[in-house]
């Protein structure tokens, strides 16, 4: 039992943090909002050079061969920077999904993902929209009969759906399901899609941690400078307590996300429950962060010009992604109240009580 990250993942996190602080400034984020499909191919390429896009891709296919416990550290940094890139869709969901599908499809696309030469989007019945469909070169999509299809971008009919967070790109996607596009069906397709959902939700939860942390940091920086009644407003207890509340939520969400990552990486039988717990905890922390950071800023936070809304919008959009809170709460409720998940002292980790 050791609930700590090893040195390599932590060093990697630091590298990505420094990289994004330089390459993904608020100005760069805003510029990308205006770009075609809201994405920057240059930034994607650079992310690949750092090793982020192929983090979960095996080394044999040009990737880094890390697992989800490292991925969540990097996605936390993506959230901290409000990174407008298809990282969750492609690096967190599509890459391992392609690996599980295997065969020629994996051989073709995994090296391209690792090299930053391809974006792959994944659809799931949990949402009517597909993340990053517009910029995708390949789409992995469920059909109405529950099969899974690999659809080239020019075979998909993509209708962008402008949404509250300009950094999250979603679209409605239609396609003609043909035997030639089908990569899995029946129980196997179901298993693949369930795993994809858990990976997307885990990635969103991890990003929400970084978003929340950044919202606190922005509010602390602002209220330490801004003076009213002759004092920094951050010295008033009403403001302190509001931000301390966010910190409490964040610090009790982080280990939940880490544990979910471990459960995904190790195929725990409780994977789905752990992921839903992580998604709920991190979404709540980020939502409270958005609300309280805005309040701590006052009117200036309510402007388009102030950067605060980059993270506020991301906090909200991550809650929408890969199953909203009612969906995840429903999964946990069924596990605890109906499916007899062991609860009580000593049941947190397998092999305990």
């Amino acid at each position: 039992m050791d609930f700590r990250h090893q040195d390599d993942p932590l060093l990697f996190q630091e590298t990505v943090c420094d990289f994004l602080a330089k390459e993904c400034t608020p100005e760069a984020v805003r510029a990308t909002w205006q770009a075609p499909a809201g994405r920057s191919p240059e930034l994607w390429k650079k992310l690949a050079e750092v090793g982020v896009t192929g983090l979960l891709v095996p080394e044999a296919q040009g990737g880094m061969g890390f697992d989800e416990t490292t991925l969540v550290l990097l996605l936390e940094e993506a959230g901290r920077a409000a990174l407008p890139a298809p990282l969750i869709a492609t690096a967190a969901v599509a890459a391992p999904l392609l690996g599980e599908i295997g065969g020629a499809l994996a051989e073709e696309w995994l090296p391209r993902i690792a090299a930053g030469e391809a974006v792959v989007a994944v659809g799931h019945p949990v949402s009517p929209f597909v993340e990053d469909a517009e910029s995708a070169d390949l789409l992995l999509l469920p059909s109405d009969d529950g099969a899974l299809h690999a659809v080239a971008r020019d075979e998909a009919r993509i209708t962008p759906q402008p949404a509250n967070d300009p950094g999250r790109r979603i679209a409605s996607v239609a396609f003609d399901a043909r035997p030639a596009t089908r990569v899995a069906e029946g129980a196997r397709a179901r298993t693949l899609l369930e795993a994809a959902l858990d990976r997307g939700a885990l990635g969103s939860a991890a990003s929400a941690l970084g978003v929340c942390d950044r919202l606190i940091a922005e509010a602390v920086a602002y209220t330490s400078e801004r003076k009213q009644f002759g004092k920094p407003v951050g010295s008033f207890q009403a403001v302190k307590h509001m931000l301390a509340n966010v910190k409490v939520k964040l610090e009790y969400a982080r280990p939940v996300v880490w544990r979910a990552a471990w459960s995904v990486a190790h195929g725990s039988p409780n994977r789905a429950t752990h992921v839903s717990m992580a998604k709920l905890a991190a979404s709540e922390a980020a939502a409270l962060g958005a609300k309280n950071a805005l309040q701590a800023h006052g009117a200036i936070g309510y402007t388009w010009e102030q950067d605060l809304h980059l993270w506020m919008r991301r906090a909200w959009s991550l809650e929408q992604a890969w199953g909203r809170s009612p969906f995840h709460l429903g999964r946990v409720r069924r596990a605890v109240l109906e499916d007899g998940l062991p609860i009580g002292p000593g049941t947190t980790f397998l092999g305990g009580a």
Binding site: K231, K240, A244, N245, P255, W258, I343, P345, T347, T348
Partner: protein, 385 residues
């Protein structure tokens, strides 16, 4: 990262479970804040200590088993799983004990720790005074050096377990000219010292869980000083860190409450709304989050880390979770929610009201949650004072 138990923890768990199954009293003991219950709890602690389970992380020479913090968590899980009695000497074993381990002389360790482990000596805490609550540095009770003794004059209040304890630990002003955090000294006081008067105070639940303690020229040997003269504040902070942080409220306590809450919901499911079901599930998730965070902290401590201001985050989290769980239990009980345990219609559910009343003290004791939020904001987030 490795989230599986090793051979060592598994063996430890099996051993603890077997002993607890064979020894935990079948019927619950009376509350330790009653005279009868205090006796019964002391007897239980004696038995626990004879089995070597009173304070597992302590070195064997002081009555422990030299367990690491991870094994301590495992022991706590088994202890709550077995529904074993509450710990009457928690102020001693969980708070003062670790402080003596850090600041005590070899003589003090040998003198105090074994009798603490056996609960032959039960400890009360003496922090607050009538005019020093959240503002603990405002204490005025003096301990003036006179040869080999300190002569104590003044008053402590809200001394938990004061009514049935043998000893009290606390902070006293040894330099009467000093102000605030300076000039304070941590002293251990036998409550049978002439000049010490204990007046029990009935709490919200009607029991005498705490007391006022009056000092009128009480003479206490200098050998009872913990740490240096004038160093009291930092010694006290070490105790407070343990109280808010790790030891006092192990996650198993809240996991047990959450599991009992789920069971209560099941028994009353027909009357429960979806909103109540969701709230119960959220409470269970809260207890799990607290457990995960504690395992993370223990991993960090085992690797050489220290507990700092983040202990304040813990205290806010568990105390507010505890209230939420009990409010929810009372709401599930509906009309029976106001019944005392002895009410004929209570039918075994009256304990929820009792523990609800106790839960309400959580955000107050060990430093109010408002003070904890100040600490989080200033010392963790770096907001201006």
């Amino acid at each position: 990262m490795d989230l599986t138990y090793g051979e060592r923890e598994n063996e430890f768990r099996a051993e603890a479970r077997a002993w607890l199954e064979a020894n935990v009293p079948r019927d619950p003991l009376a509350s330790f804040d009653t005279a009868e219950g205090a006796r019964a709890h002391r007897a239980w602690e004696k038995r626990l200590n004879a089995g070597g389970w009173a304070m597992v992380p302590w070195p064997t020479e002081y009555g422990g088993r030299g367990a690491n913090l991870l094994e301590w968590l495992v022991f706590e899980e088994e202890y709550y799983r077995a529904r074993a009695p509450k710990r009457i000497n928690q102020n001693g074993i969980f708070l003062l004990g670790p402080t003596i381990m850090e600041y005590g002389t070899p003589e003090q360790k040998a003198r105090f720790l074994p009798k603490m482990a056996s609960s032959e000596e039960v400890w009360a805490q003496g922090w607050s005074e009538p005019n020093a609550g959240s503002d603990m540095a405002a204490i005025t009770t003096t301990a003036i050096r006179d040869g080999d003794h300190y002569v104590i004059q003044g008053q402590k209040t809200w001394a938990s377990r004061g009514a049935f304890a043998d000893w009290l630990f606390g902070m006293f002003r040894t330099d009467p000219e000093s102000e605030r955090h300076r000039g304070l000294t941590f002293i251990l006081v036998p409550l049978d010292t002439p000049g010490v008067t204990v007046r029990p105070i009935a709490q919200l639940d009607g029991e005498t869980g705490f007391a006022e303690v009056f000092f009128d020229g009480a003479r206490v040997p200098v050998a009872n000083r913990l740490g240096e003269e004038g160093q009291g504040w930092s010694v006290a902070m070490s105790t407070a860190g343990f109280e808010r942080g790790l030891m006092l409220r192990s996650p198993a306590r809240f996991q047990d409450t959450a599991a009992r809450l789920v069971a209560l919901l099941r028994e009353n499911d027909a009357a429960a709304s979806d909103a109540v079901r969701d709230d119960v599930v959220r409470c269970w998730m809260g207890a799990e989050a607290y457990t995960l965070e504690t395992y993370r902290t223990v991993s960090r401590l085992l690797a050489g880390g220290k507990i700092g201001a983040e202990a304040s985050l813990n205290k806010i989290f568990w105390s507010e979770l505890d209230i939420r769980m009990h409010e929810l239990a009372l709401s599930i009980l509906g009309d029976r929610g106001e019944l005392l345990p002895e009410a004929p219609a209570a039918d075994g559910v009256g304990g929820w009201l009792d523990s609800f009343l106790f839960a309400l003290s959580g955000p107050i004791y060990a430093g109010t949650n408002e003070i904890q939020r100040n600490i989080v904001a200033e010392r963790i987030l770096g907001l201006p004072r």
